[in-house]
């Protein structure tokens, strides 16, 4: 990995964009550590770090899909509704006597199917990604409400909770393992497989990709399918963590996933950026929430601060481009 030949950003030996991101992440940690110390609390404890990762894990997983779609130059707005839909869908199946594992597989299949519809609309139907996924976002939310008539589902078998909360090493929950495993796999896929390189090429210049023999429609569509799968998995993670299915769950998750992606430095115009940095983006958002909670800052301020971080991250990232011009 020493060579930067294939990271999609190419360029000089120093990757300024990634550097800015890491400096930003470290700065946030330092600021919180100092502030917490000042108010007599501890920020950098093992428990806190685990909390941050656990709390960010769902957004981090969903953001993998968001990053893939954004790398193609598209956008996927329906992942939040997918989380809500999958909760009710899997919940009904489990309540109906389906084994937990089978309900999970069925949910992921449903996510893949919804992604396929999105992808087909965008790549073959030429419907703008924003519109197509805005539509499926509404449809999925509607279905989530419809199939259980708007009622939440609770009291699940303990087996369901194990998906998320089972402890593997010490007190580390298995959800943390999912996050790192998924990101490891996707970093390899994006950098070392035909599929990954084709996604980058398509997002960077679809015409050139087409003339280079990339089957662009398939590639574009598969990004949405994967996004659907990761969103469905996110839905199962949430269901397992709460042992409670709410048809309105996951609303706004699509925006958090997009935020993690852009903070991580993936360009909304597609073709540039590294998927691994999306994890950093998600963790920045997570530590922000966690740190502010420790400091007892009301949630209203948290939301405002999150907004500022999103704008600030992209503003700083673009400032080099502005100077170059």
């Amino acid at each position: 990995m020493s060579s930067t030949a294939t990271n999609g950003r190419g360029g000089k030996s120093i990757n300024w964009s990634a550097l800015t991101l890491y400096i930003g992440a470290v700065a946030i940690i330092i600021v919180f550590t100092v502030l917490c110390r000042y108010f007599g609390r501890n920020f950098l404890t093992i428990t806190n770090i685990q909390n941050i990762i656990t709390q960010s894990s769902i957004i981090a997983v969903i953001a993998i899909g968001a990053s893939l779609v954004i790398l193609t130059g598209g956008i996927d707005l329906c992942v939040g509704s997918m989380v809500g839909f999958v909760g009710i869908f899997a919940g009904l199946l489990i309540k109906g006597g389906t084994p937990v594992w089978a309900a999970c597989i069925a949910s992921i299949a449903a996510g893949a199917l919804a992604g396929l519809v999105n992808g087909a609309l965008v790549s073959y139907g030429k419907v703008p990604a924003f519109i197509a996924t805005l539509g499926t976002m509404q449809i999925l939310r509607g279905l989530a409400l419809l199939i259980n008539l708007g009622k939440p589902i609770s009291r699940f078998p303990a087996e369901l909770g194990k998906i998320m909360n089972a402890k593997v090493v010490g007190s580390m929950p298995v959800s943390v393992i999912y996050v790192f495993a998924f990101y490891f796999i996707m970093i390899v896929v994006m950098s070392y497989t035909h599929f990954g390189r084709h996604i980058y090429a398509f997002g960077g210049n679809s015409n050139a990709a087409k003339l280079s023999g990339v089957r662009i429609k398939r590639i574009e569509m598969s990004a949405y399918v994967l996004s659907g799968i990761f969103a469905a998995f996110g839905g199962i993670m949430l269901l397992s963590r709460l042992s409670y299915a709410d048809p309105n769950a996951g609303s706004g998750y699509e925006m958090n996933a997009i935020a993690a992606t852009v903070i991580g430095g993936i360009s909304l115009s597609g073709g540039r950026g590294k998927i691994g940095n999306t994890l950093v983006g998600a963790l920045i958002l997570g530590s922000l929430t966690c740190g502010l909670q420790i400091l007892n800052v009301p949630t209203y301020y948290q939301t405002i601060l999150t907004g500022l971080v999103i704008i600030g991250a992209v503003y700083v990232d673009k400032s080099r481009e502005r100077k170059a011009e």
Partner: protein
Amino acid sequence: MTPSHSCRATAREDHRPHCVPTDSYILEMRDIDKSFYGVQVLDKARLRVRPGEAHVLLGENGAGKSTLIKILSGAYRREGGDIFIDGKPFCVETPKETLEAGISVIYQEFNLVPYLPIYENIFLGKEFGGAMFINKKRAIRESMEYMEMIGLNVPPETLIADLSVAQKQLVEIAKAISNDVKVLVLDEPTAAITDKETRMLFAKINDLKSRGIGIVYISHRMQELFEIGDRCTVMRDGRFVDEVCLDAVTEGDLTRMMVGREVKLVKSQRLKRANPQPILEVRGLCCRNQLHDINLILEKGEILGISGLVGAGRSELARCIIGDFKRDSGTVKYNGEELVGGIHNSIAKGVVYLSEDRKDAGLVLVHSVADNIALPNLRRFGKVLLRKRSMVETCREYIKNLRIRPADHRVEAKNLSGGNQQKVVIAKWLCSKASVYIFDEPTRGIDVGARDEIYGIMERLVAEGASIIMISSDMVELMKMCDRIAVMREGRIATVLDNDDELTQETLLSHALGSQLVS
């Protein structure tokens, strides 16, 4: 140089005596200079238009006609020279000023807002009414007058999007008349309209002439020029060649003027192939309205040139061959086997296309040189997981062999010069070990040194047994490189010529234009 500077130059020049009094011209452009990135595209170009005449502006692709017109319209700034309108010096600053001075340019792509009605388009930017509300009734009433004048018989409320090409053209003319036009420039006005509509357009042009409006008419269709034009200015390589009365010249004269002096050209010295075998056979190929019944054979180890004007269907043919455009009928056979299944199949078989537009269709500009070279060749570097080291080594090899500068595989493609970008595109396909290369304008926008290197690469390719189709607007380059040259005109193969010593640029151009050469 700023326009204000040019204006001072004008004032100085005005003291000089002129051989022709400027007041007899409604428009005079004198010694116009313009360069792009250090390349001189206009070198003392001239254009003089009298009131009430149709003045033809003639020249090959790239002779500088469009640049000259864009300077007139205010889209580009001139670097030297003067413009006079009605004998008065005129400094164009913005396209709006040009319009106000009475100059209207009608480009091939119209400047109309598609989802607004005709009357709003005619008065766009100069609406009637007060500060808040637009006087719609007056706009409709007045636009009807103009529309009647030019014989456009549709309700003024019709949306532009619902009009035919010829009708849109009339709206543009109506808009020009409403601007009190003195000089009307028509850029290839008949390229997309039928013969009947052309007749009607010519009647309108004659009508405008009788009102004392000067017409600048750009077209490649020779017969048409003689029918509508009074005088003609010929341009070549950004320079003024001659101004002639069309009554006094023949098509052959004009063609010779456009081609100009005999260019010294060293034909490439390749051994004549002993027994030609066809490697690529195109039979009866049709595609939408762009290609009609194309028959063409590419022989193994040859360079087949494709000449023709822009819009003759050359790139469309290439895209049809590789399977980018869907063929309506006809077949393409490679080594006797039909080539079907889209671009990736053609690439797998070894038939590749190097687009004329490197930035838009050749390279992923935001990716590194190595990524670009590797893109069509990922299979070479591993079935499932890619071997990055071998990828980088292979790319370095091509960077070295083709002398790509900077010699760094990590540089983003957008930071390379045009010549080096072209070499990266070539490296992509060399790496894929293709056997048929379709080069589309391989040397466009490339400096002389890199150009020779690219010729060298092409020579080496055919020497090693590959075959090349070379599409180019540069006839000299085709005559230098090719074994045979096919000339396309309006979506058809006009002729296929052997590139022997008797072949001249005049012959090529007259086939491309469809004119009879008077020899």
